[in-house]
Symmetry: C2
Amino acid sequence: MNTELQDYSHKRFNILTGEWVLVSPHRAKRPWQGQEETPSTEKRPTHDESCYLCAGNTRISGDVNPNYTGPFVFTNDFAALQKDSPDFNFNDGLFKAESEKGICRVICFSPDHSKSLAEMSVPNIQKVVDTWIKEYKNLGNNEGINYVQIFENKGAVMGCSNPHPHGQIWSQSSLPNEVQKKDTQQKNYFTENKSSLLETYIEEELNKDERIIFKNDDFVVFVPFWAIWPFEAMIAPINQQSSISEMNANQQKNYAEAISVLTKAYDKLFNCSFPYSSGIHQAPTNNENNDHWHWHMSFYPPLLRSATVKKFMVGYEMFGSPQRDITAEGAASRIKNCI
Amino acid sequence: MNTELQDYSHKRFNILTGEWVLVSPHRAKRPWQGQEETPSTEKRPTHDESCYLCAGNTRISGDVNPNYTGPFVFTNDFAALQKDSPDFNFNDGLFKAESEKGICRVICFSPDHSKSLAEMSVPNIQKVVDTWIKEYKNLGNNEGINYVQIFENKGAVMGCSNPHPHGQIWSQSSLPNEVQKKDTQQKNYFTENKSSLLETYIEEELNKDERIIFKNDDFVVFVPFWAIWPFEAMIAPINQQSSISEMNANQQKNYAEAISVLTKAYDKLFNCSFPYSSGIHQAPTNNENNDHWHWHMSFYPPLLRSATVKKFMVGYEMFGSPQRDITAEGAASRIKNCI
Ligand SMILES: O=P(O)(O)O[C@H]1O[C@H](CO)[C@@H](O)[C@H](O)[C@H]1O
Ligand SMILES: O=P(O)(O)O[C@H]1O[C@H](CO)[C@@H](O)[C@H](O)[C@H]1O
């Protein structure tokens, strides 16, 4: 391992976005006197009368949830994007706006109010994976839906307003900023090298074995060289696939296992229900050639030192570049130790 | 005012970064059952024995603060960037890193532990402005310092670990991501139009008068058309200047007044010491031609509905694009009402 990268401030390049992250390894020693978070350690009941996501309960919209037994998906009652809003174009010199349509869905991972992905069995996680695949295909088939963003906000500190284990899917007509960047970077590499950028990278990661957390036959879990969040990690298929819809049944099981291993390790790291936002970046559903896409799932957890002290992405990070205090290598080995 | 922009989801283009923001005006109605912040309403003493930023006190490093009477600047005891770290280049295929040197400074706005910028007099804010100008020049004159980022994290919710009113200055060899984007966009426009992008834009903003909060002879305070944060605002000189070092004494006073008006209005909005990160984007100190730069100061406040409910930039925002629920026009008029 290169020791300069462990000792001195430097920037690392993110091959997927084309942007840099500032790394300050020596800075982890600074004392913390700022805000403390409240870790989530409460035990929840398996069914909560007052939860609007539990089976059989009534939502704020008045709709009644069915008595579902596996994952349950419905259209968001307060969707940020709507399917039937009018088309318009506002092009007034330097003032530029465009209408954006979409469909926003909520996915309850299971009827069990008490169990996060970390606490669910691999077969039950596989049902969630299966639901993601169906939603990706169905939403993507809608006229005018060109991208499907699957994500989860876990924990109050990540803006999650209901503890019932659930994720969201926002699908829309244009490619969001982050997806656009990854589309460009992957396309440029693919055009030049006739191979997947991420596949080539993962091969090297496996050789180096400095940031690998876990591996099975089809998937690898690792901390990317350019990770931003202290304990950021990525799950990706070892061999290129452009979207989750290309997995066979066995790969779906191995993907579910990778999710299970990582989320369990996270919970062990600071002995709490580990908060994060996770998301899947994959091929747009725009009917163009997307062979350059290699899908992957990223986890962005906010915690830095303990269950109560998070990393704030504020001043310098908002106006300059993202900045981290511990190295990707150090983080990977700490997560790996929790498996 | 275009009514579609007030009623239906759309995306708006940021001319300074070249990126988009998703706006969902109809979504402000959704109920909030998530995390509540603790607003800062405590009265602080003018001097706090235990504060490591107060005059005469000892810092964690063992250094003793002088009995300063105006703004006080020192080099950060736990700097993210260091001046004397070695030069190195790590170029290993898809793994790319570079050493990054810099100088990080802390600036106490005044010896008074109890008063934020909103509570300071205009002449005292002007002393802060004067200090920023000196630091920008001095740091920028250092060999290998090509960019000087001035910023403030205000409030515990913004990761500020000491309530003594202070800001920071991180200066470094390369242009951070956000600065790079603005450099490119402004340069492209300037090359094509032989005029400042932001000056042209501000002229139009003043004509439209839909997002203006305040104006004096030299400065305008407004919510940019593409604002991300609910109550984001910008202060900019009406006529192009590439950096704060170009202001004359009267302009410095008018800049201080603009800061005073905006921060006071913020505090009134939700009746609390309004948290935010603010930052100045201006010409790099790289000795290149920076005539395309038009400096500006932005405020990114996290609060959305009240002193306790903030906007979370999480799942969709991290993996997709920034998203906002209230329009820039609505936000501007609410801030303006607080003047
Ligand atoms: O330097 P401070 O105030 O200790 O730290 C704060 O500001 C820094 C610069 O924006 C951030 O990197 C930290 O996450 C934040 O807590
Ligand atoms: O949709 P929710 O869970 O109510 O809201 C949460 O996730 C959204 C998508 O990331 C964000 O825009 C909100 O700020 C956040 O509070």
